[in-house]
């Protein structure tokens, strides 16, 4: 389909501000009378605050106030998982206990050093399996180690023998908290020619977004103005209002740009720290800036769940995956985590369509960084574990590594997951073909495992998946008498440019030149509609639907007004060159400026004063009511779609692994996406290469490390974590896409941000396994230390299946 905007590159309006340094992040703002807040954080991994004596601090010159958990939770702290704003029962080192506001940060720090907090030390645990074992310490309040949905904190224990047997590499025998299955597992394994079974680990690690989550707040005329850092805009404000205790109509969230968000900045409950300056400002009646350090960001910034798992996979002689049995203990960290483990099973079901699958999972806390969604939560952890298993099956069955993936690939019309949801569309075989052709996969097979000196070549093929689209949100567009199109977009600016690219769906409907469009985002008092949070790779699918719908509403209204005024039926009209005109005689019509003027003269439904969609969210209703009567308006509430809009990726890579150092260089890499119609090619490419770098980190580098004696985090910085640099990534990453439209989206688009990571980590793990002659670490990351220890025949230092510690 020939589009005016969709599929074309453009300069998103915020890019010049990013290269000049002019765009403002939360910490760049200042306000008359602004004071500074600093945090007192827990120095111990698990404790109870018995007493806080702040009298000396509060008597200091320049100190304005203190905020404690008792202030922010007058009825007691919520007994639920998730970070609290402030807490009296810290369950990880660095958790905020209280905040002090002062004239400057030095004074605030000095005041904090004069506060006497009496803690009762509680036992702590760093490895979920240690907690799961009878007699092991428990990470959570009330001496509990897990959380059961709708039930609260609970305790899960296995016998020491059960834990030891699992650590020794056997199938876990403890009762799982959660299970789901599809097909006949026993029959699946009975039909298998090749069965592979292993325990595995994937490490937890911090998000480490580049911008620490600093925030500034002030109250003016009863309204809260909050500058913060979030992936989302209206979704953040909508969720933050009840956390702070302010009506939705009285919060203004300001966020021109966010310095990176990968899951833990999407929703208000993952950034409760933003409430600290808001509450402090309310208490002391001054603007409050709270700058966050890198170490604080590590603690409150969230982390990926680590897995301690067991997997058994069977393949029939023809290469069909006949059964997969998966058991995962997920590390819920200090504050509770997410549903990563079940998503990992779902991912296997989606990508390889096994005849039978069983998932069993249990989540256990540890007194380490708090866990939550991180780029492809679950789907991406399992990707580097499963890929080498497919290669082993291919080798054993005499099938090519490409062929076994094609045999098991999902197709259009297939279903997957616990609810057997159909895909809205799926083009995985096409993606496999495109990737392998672009990479010359077949041609390179001759190089496989070739050795030159101490270096050996490994080839890897990987696949990634994440569901990539939601629906049911709202859209608003307006037009004034200048005839410019104002696109009110509540999508956050986290660096994907989806706030701008989804806006282009509205411009497309009205055939509006981009230079005559104004995207209104940045602050929620720009009268923005509600959107789904910018997580789960959903924004492109979700918000092209709403933008398209709002502009279509405006288009229909244009045609109605023109037909009423100029004769004929609305169906006799079309738009072009910023005019609505009769199809038969283009001279009969209105310019956009004129039609906007007519709409405003008519008022009512044309200006948002009547006939609004019934289901508009409260947030959208507030925005529409404030705009009503002031402009020609298109308003839309999106119906729910059917099916699962998937994002798929395929990666091929070639590495050269040095058998003397355990290090490897990525010689070449190609990543191909199936994410429907491509809306913004440059933005798409950024998601693919960015996801690739994350995949490189997952496969080879990033992990939590804690000091076992005191529970102190040792990976608070970029270096120890370790985030990949220019030199850990290929000189150039090849990208491409299938570019076939999805029928559930008006412009054919689906998302891609998360799967782009999974395929790369899978390809790398496969390539490392290949270079090492098939040795399967069943681990992410696979570090140089692990490789060198393996080559030297040295046992790993850590206990088997260790979490939050070095393996290697």
């Amino acid at each position: 389909m020939a589009y005016m905007h969709i599929g074309k590159d453009f300069v998103p309006p915020d890019v010049p501000g990013k290269v000049t340094g002019r765009i403002k992040y939360a910490e760049d703002y200042t306000r008359e009378g602004m004071v500074y807040s600093r945090l007192l954080t827990s120095p111990i991994p698990h404790a109870r605050v018995l007493d806080i004596d702040a009298s000396e601090a509060l008597a200091m010159d320049g100190v304005f106030g203190i905020l404690t958990a008792d202030d922010v939770y007058p009825d007691g702290e919520p007994q639920s998982t998730g970070l609290k704003i402030l807490t009296n029962e810290p369950t990880l080192v660095g958790e905020p206990i209280l905040a002090v506001a002062a004239i400057d940060e030095k004074t605030a720090e000095t005041a904090i050093s004069r506060i006497n907090v009496t803690f009762e030390r509680l036992p702590f645990v760093l490895d979920p399996l240690d907690s799961l074992a009878e007699g092991g310490a428990n990470a959570y309040p009330g001496d509990q180690n897990t959380f059961v949905f709708r039930q609260g904190f609970a305790t899960e224990k296995w016998t020491e023998d059960q834990v030891a047997s699992f650590r020794a590499g056997n199938e876990p025998t403890g009762e799982p908290q959660q299970t789901w299955s599809l097909g006949d597992l026993e029959a699946g394994f009975a039909a298998s020619e090749f069965v592979y079974e292993t325990t595995f680990t994937t490490a937890g690690y911090p998000h480490h977004s580049m911008e620490p989550r600093s925030a500034m707040a002030y109250w003016e005329d009863g309204k809260l103005y909050l500058h913060g850092t979030s992936q989302s805009l209206t979704a953040l404000a909508d969720g933050m209002a009840p956390i702070i205790g302010v009506p939705k109509k009285d919060i203004v969230f300001i966020n021109a740009a966010t310095g990176g968000g990968f899951g833990q900045r999407a929703r208000a409950n993952s950034i409760p720290s933003m409430a600290i300056p808001a509450k402090m400002s309310q208490k002391i009646n001054r603007p409050v800036m709270m700058r966050i350090t890198r170490e604080e960001e590590f603690t409150i910034g969230g982390a990926r769940q680590g897995f301690q798992g067991w997997i058994k996979v069977g393949f029939k002689p023809d290469g069909v995956m006949s059964a997969c049995d998966l058991y995962i203990i997920s590390d819920n960290g200090g504050k509770g985590g997410g549903g990563d483990a079940s998503s990992a099973a779902d991912c296997i079901d989606v990508l390889y369509q096994p005849d039978a699958l069983r998932f069993r999972g249990t989540s256990i806390g540890s007194n380490t960084g708090h866990r939550g969604a991180q780029r492809g939560p679950g789907q991406n952890q399992i990707a580097p574990i499963i890929a080498p298993i497919l290669d082993k099956a291919a080798d054993a069955l005499g099938i090519s590594r490409l062929e076994i993936r094609k045999i098991n690939a999902p197709h259009n019309g297939d279903v997957a997951g616990p609810r057997q949801t159909p895909f809205t569309s799926a083009y995985v075989p096409e993606s496999l073909d495109l990737a392998t052709q672009q990479f010359d996969w077949e041609g390179r097979q001759a190089r496989r495992r070739q050795r030159k000196g101490s270096k050996v070549i490994g080839l890897g093929l990987g696949q990634g998946y994440h569901n990539a689209g939601r629906s049911g949100m709202d859209g608003i567009v307006t037009m004034g008498t200048d005839g410019r199109l104002k696109i009110h977009n509540g999508v956050g600016n986290l660096g994907t440019y989806s706030y701008a690219s989804t806006s282009r769906a509205a411009a497309e409907v009205l055939k509006m030149p981009w230079e005559n469009c104004d995207v209104l985002n940045v602050r929620t008092d720009n009268h923005l509609p509600i959107t789904s949070p910018q997580d789960g790779s959903n924004s492109i699918f979700t918000n092209t639907r709403t933008m398209f719908g709002a502009a279509t509403d405006m288009l229909n209204k244009m045609k109605q007004i023109a037909a009423n005024d100029l004769g004929g039926d609305p169906a006799d009209y079309d738009v072009s060159n910023e005019r609505v005109h009769q199809i038969a005689d283009e001279s009969v019509g209105y310019t956009y400026a004129d039609i906007a003027r007519r709409a405003m003269e008519l008022g009512g439904k044309y200006t948002g004063e009547a006939d609004l969609p019934d289901e508009l969210a409260e947030w959208t209703q507030i925005s529409v009511s404030r705009l009503a009567g002031s402009a020609f308006m298109g308003v839309y509430h999106d119906a729910r779609h059917e099916g699962n809009p998937p994002g798929f990726t395929v990666t091929c890579c070639e590495i050269e692994l040095d058998l003397e150092t355990g290090k490897y260089a990525i010689l070449d890499m190609v990543t191909i996406a199936d994410s429907g119609t491509i809306v913004h090619p440059q933005g798409m490419e950024n998601q693919l290469v960015g996801g690739a770098v994350w995949g490189i980190g997952l496969a080879g580098y990033e992990r939590h490390v804690y000091d076992p004696q005191n529970g102190l985090p040792a990976s608070t910085g970029y270096w120890q974590s370790k985030v990949p640099t220019y030199l850990d990534t290929p000189v150039k990453i090849g990208t491409g896409w299938v570019d076939l439209p999805d029928p559930e989206n008006p412009v054919g688009a689906r998302g891609i941000g998360e799967p782009s990571m999974g395929a790369v980590s899978a390809a790398l793990a496969a390539a490392i396994t290949d270079a090492l002659g098939g040795h399967h670490f069943a681990s992410a990351p696979i570090t140089a230390d692990m490789i060198i220890n393996h080559l030297a025949g040295t046992e790993e230092n850590a206990v088997p299946l260790a979490q939050n510690n070095f393996r290697g």
């Binding site: 890019v15 940060e105 030095k106 006497n116 803690f119 030390r121 310095g259 170490e295 040792a714 000189v731």
Partner: protein
């Protein structure tokens, strides 16, 4: 240890030089608001973007703090404040330098350039900035000013780098969004734009 410890005693006794101490102690040491009581601060002049600026500088104040909090040049970002990420990169006598890791007092005879000083007087973007726009190099943009400055330093010294040379020259700048490929595309285009 007594199970009931005070935070102060605990820190003194166990982790005085450890990670917990850095969490709370690092910030103000580097921060421009640091005013040890009784200490005499010095008004110094530093050359920033071709302008001599008089500024009141505390003894341990870093250049990043002075630029951001005293001079309002917030284009220079702080990602780690400990020399790990490059978000704070500025040019000091043409050399890419972590502004979080040098003291402003050592800058008295230096020529400091920040991202705000790159545009021409008529508002044209510097070729590196222009190339980064055209290649859509930034994602979230938080590392971008540092990447821009690192690229400017590279191209002044080596106007026609290979991609491999550019990658090494830029390797002191982390991008958590993983936009390395797009930044390198930008650097190579900037070399062409001259």
């Amino acid at each position: 240890m007594n199970p009931k410890v005070t935070r102060r005693r605990f820190i003194k006794g166990v982790v005085a030089s450890g990670a917990a101490a850095t969490t709370t102690g690092m910030w103000y040491a580097a921060n421009g608001q640091n005013r040890p009581s009784g200490a005499v601060e010095r008004l110094i002049r530093i050359n920033v973007n071709g302008q001599l600026r008089s500024v009141d500088v505390a003894p341990q104040e870093t250049l990043a703090s002075t630029l951001r909090y005293k001079l309002g040049l917030t284009g220079t970002k702080l990602g780690c404040n400990r020399g790990e990420c490059g978000a704070c990169t500025v040019l000091v006598d043409d050399v890419a330098t972590y502004a979080c890791s040098v003291l402003t007092h050592s800058m008295k005879n230096a020529l400091i350039e920040t991202v705000e000083g790159l545009e021409s007087p008529n508002g044209d973007l510097h070729p590196v900035q222009q190339a980064f726009v055209e290649e859509l190099s930034p994602q979230c943009g938080y590392c971008t000013p540092g990447q821009v400055m690192a690229a400017v330093a590279l191209l002044r010294e080596n106007p026609n780098p290979t991609r491999e040379e550019a990658r090494h020259a830029m390797s002191g700048n982390i991008c958590r969004c993983g936009s390395y490929d797009s930044y390198l595309d930008g650097v190579m285009r900037a070399a062409q734009l001259g």
